[in-house]
Point group: C2
Amino acid sequence: MLSKKTKYAIKALVVLGKNMDQPPMQISKIAELERIPKKFLEQILLDLRNAGFLYSKKGAGGGYSLNRDPKEIFLVSIMRITDGPIAMVPCASLNFYHKCDECHQESTCGIRDVFVDVRDATLKILSETSIADIIKRETTLISV
Amino acid sequence: MLSKKTKYAIKALVVLGKNMDQPPMQISKIAELERIPKKFLEQILLDLRNAGFLYSKKGAGGGYSLNRDPKEIFLVSIMRITDGPIAMVPCASLNFYHKCDECHQESTCGIRDVFVDVRDATLKILSETSIADIIKRETTLISV
DNA sequence: TATATAATCTATAATATTACTCGAAAAAAT
DNA sequence: ATTTTTTCGAGTAATATTATAGATTATATA
């Protein structure tokens, strides 16, 4: 399951992606729009900022805005910041690899072998889908 | 991440899949072979038994064996018993659907739309891969 | 029939993760 | 100065996961 943290992160980025030519938006505004607990969102946006996805400005008239083109922010990057690994087993993870406790021999593990395939299939979608794509999907879904 | 419960379940089924023409195997034997805490494995096997995948016999000479052809036991079914939903968001789940707390309008949610695709890709693999396939992959990996 | 074996059942403890909260400090605008 | 808003460090509450304990039931066999 996707953590709420990740879901909130994506939602916030989508809101900011729709706000590109506007002045920065405040945490409280995003929290209200998306029904996200404000203090929790605070932490999440800070993580995204420290990872370079967001620009922030303190003080009156401050807030958050995207630091990149929404077309260049992919779900996979967000998820790695907020949830960590994409793979379902640690031994199949590209960015967060570690050995399974009970594993006898990784190189011949059939379970790992399957979940490498699952990882690749998931990764393909998540690394092709950007914040801009999500926004586009929403408008497409509305018009259907 | 796959829970240990699921990983243990798959491992146990693989062991039993290799033990098809032998007398039933005891929990303690499986636990030892796969380094799984015995009492925990007990619960897991019981779940799998109640779901119809295992045959069990009490008393001396008792134990567990597969109730079906390993070719007919697919990962997706096991995972639904031990972990529940395959989808990463509840609103994209086929068997464990429920609405997201913060969702405004599900039908136009771009996040859901992407994670339905992820679910389908994952589901394809997990519902094509059986215990027999995992055993086959292991022997293939050994010979490489 | 007694004994040993092995699954079953119910409950609970230990640990980890997730989700969220608090309060104060720092930066910026007016 | 004062207000606004992000930043920072820490802490807590809720929930889920992983594991353990102990008694009970079923079966085989000597």
